[in-house]
Subunit: 437 residues, 2 copies
């Protein structure tokens, strides 16, 4: 045939892994799912594409120009760019079929046509949990969320990470009290404290026309230090007579009090009054999570409390709290920095190699191993023994089981540890126990 | 605020489930994945969108007008419409990084803008496995595939299903021998035998200009009956002097011989000489799988052997064999026919209900249960006990654990079986053992 060859390549900005790395990625995904399920979150799975008018109901926003949008027939279609908008639509649409507080997890791909750059992906997995109340949602839920972050990253193999917690009402109340009307810009500046330093924050505030008195109060506020309890006490000593401030302080106090009960060690969380999260979306508690030794990676898990999830789709007031892990980016960064903690995973536990004339017995034994729950591949091609071992070697499997006539006679089979080279002759039962253990 | 409400609805032709059903769906997906992994297949995950010229390299085909295609910037993009074309591209692209025979599984969503109709979906999960050889691939692999189908559907809860097996070389060789040049139409007609009956097949063959002699031979051929071994013997007794026919007969004989060794019970597979699979793509062994008592559902798992996977992307010859389960459609059909066999799944195993003043202890106990591997939700809202029980009831969880002051004093907690209404007071250790068991 005289066919033209099309160059096999994916689009720029997409992640595609070879199987050995895909196994590591999937292991991380499985650990996250397992933790979400352990805390009683229920799964949902929404379509990747939706009506554009639904996904863009909120309008505006930085992401809008990044959205993949197209027309099929006479329908305007968009690909989801996060899992929060689909959740809002889902809860509004299925409202009467759901039980509130509705705890759902969703792990799926989302799409953003970002400018291509290293470590940014146009298709990426988000792993989200949210707790949605019908009309109200107790503040205690905000204290449970950090324990899920803790448990998840612990299971992902990390010890040294810090969940930073704040409450936007505290900040907003302060600004109200100071007579600052548009706090959005001020919040954004404060949010950058860690990145740009106190002097540049001052400069930005000055440019925004914040008076010196107010600025000094803000600086005093964001420099409050000490233990979590000391911070809370110093906040109350500021004697700011503002309802929103006091509400925020009370919420933060409750969250701080119960995080301990939920089992998060004191070393893994901290109240950080400068964390605001850029998004206007959040209205109360906010979270960011950092690897202590690699803060460059940025927040590895963020989220917060919002007043009303689905106001674009329903008149029901649906307050909620949630977090998101951007798994594709996280995996990429950990991988590049050689920080992946998931065990080097051999998805295949053993490769069965039949010697000449021993195919039937080898198949039978493979069946037995699989029945014993061992992930088993049998090598079915003809060829020299060296070629067969080479195959197992390249797949980097921990064990090879050799089936020859001598083995069949003795009903003992040669199990080769591919790491150590050690070979032992064992019965099938012993092999199953050994591989299971 | 004076906001316009957008009606929360998904596009027609998409499946979206409430959590209770999503859990069942996920359980099926997990069982399929588990089986694919048990047989030593490695995971891959390719982008949902690719360059249109890559996905459409093969050109033509019925699916082409169903493809979601759009332009972003100056790039023509298409959404994948199956997992085979991305596999071909993947293997060609990563050829030097893969170990052959390459056994990969891929479970992911694909997109086809089909005319909307009941039970047809525009977004659906495919669950594929393929074994790809480099240059050659032993026929024994074709005998392993049915054992994976068997093991998977067995684990999905089915007993009465039949894997129908044929080899297209047998059919093609017969047609060559009969001097029929364009066998595609003939194959399609034969493929419809079960649906339309022998007389209509004859009519179609006649319309295709098949001579009477040849037609009689075809009819004699497709009516061959008996056990698998009898069928193979009767095929050889036809004394058809054609290389392709004989090659096919030999392959089918080997596959039949080894399927047994791979542990598929005789009741669960059959050689069916009329199975051809419409697609030209397949060149050897072909598979279709039917539920014996519900053949209306059509084939629930199909596939076959092909000569060359990736001829559009590479000059390497890559023969392979594989199967696909269209999970979304399968789930829908089983669900509608009330044939789902996966156990009614309570993702949440226990809901902890704190009585007034017992929140701290309740949180502590929830932590303990989760550490014990129990999927635990704690009810954190304030309210009457009846409301709390109502919540657990609606979520249909098997157990509720009640924590009150009396329980805390005795260090024994009230575990209520929500199915039977039975209540017992147990220690935390006993509760963990009971829920684990």
């Amino acid at each position: 045939m005289n066919k033209e060859i099309v160059k096999p390549a994916i689009l720029p900005g997409f992640m595609e892994l070879i199987p050995a790395d895909q196994i590591l990625f999937n292991r991380m995904k499985d650990i996250i799912r397992d933790n979400y399920e352990r805390y009683g979150f229920l799964p949902i799975d929404t379509p990747v594409m939706e009506r554009a008018e639904v996904l863009l109901a909120k309008g505006g926003g930085e992401t809008e120009q990044q959205i993949y949008e197209f027309t099929k027939g006479d329908t305007d279609i968009a690909l989801r760019f996060d899992l929060t908008v689909p959740l809002a639509r889902y809860v509004a649409q299925h409202f009467s079929e759901l039980t509130f507080p509705f705890k759902r997890y969703h792990i799926g791909k989302v799409y953003r046509g970002e400018r291509a750059q290293r470590g940014r992906f146009r298709e990426f997995y988000q792993c989200d949990i949210d707790i949605i109340g019908n009309g109200s949602l107790d503040i205690i839920n905000d204290a449970e969320i950090p324990s899920i972050i803790y448990s998840t990253f612990k299971d992902l193999g990390f010890d040294n990470f810090t969940i930073k917690i704040n409450n936007r009402k505290v900040l907003k109340g302060l600004f109200e009290w100071l007579g600052i009307k548009d706090s959005t810009m001020v919040l954004r500046s404060i949010d950058k404290l860690e990145k740009i330093g106190i002097e540049k924050v001052k400069l930005e505030l000055d440019e925004q026309g914040i008076a010196e008195d107010a600025m000094n109060k803000i600086i005093e506020f964001i420099q409050i230090s000490g233990t979590n309890e000391e911070k809370l006490e110093r906040l109350s000593l500021l004697e700011i007579d503002n309802d929103k401030f006091n509400e925020g302080l009370e919420e933060l106090t409750i969250v701080n009090r119960y995080i301990k009960a939920f089992g998060v060690p004191i070393d893994n969380y901290i109240i950080d009054l400068t964390i605001a999260r850029g998004l206007d979306y959040y209205t109360g508690t906010v979270y960011e999570t950092f690897l202590d030794d690699y803060t460059d990676i940025g927040s590895i898990c963020s989220g917060g409390r919002y007043d009303d999830l689905a106001s674009h789709y329903t008149k029901q007031r649906l307050p909620g709290v949630g977090i998101s892990i951007g798994l594709t980016r996280l995996f990429y960064q950990l991988y590049e920095a050689n920080l992946l903690k998931v065990k080097e995973a051999a998805s295949i536990e053993v490769i069965v190699i039949p010697m000449k004339g021993c195919l039937d017995k080898s198949i039978e034994i493979s069946n037995n191993l699989r029945d014993g729950g061992i992930r088993t591949q049998i090598y079915l091609e003809k060829g020299r023994l060296g070629k067969k071992f080479g195959f197992a070697d390249r797949l980097n499997v921990p064990y090879v089981l050799l089936i020859g006539t001598e083995e069949i006679e003795k009903d003992r089979y040669t199990l080769r540890n591919m790491r150590t080279g050690e070979q032992t002759m064992l019965s099938i039962d012993d092999i199953v126990s050994k591989l299971r253990g």
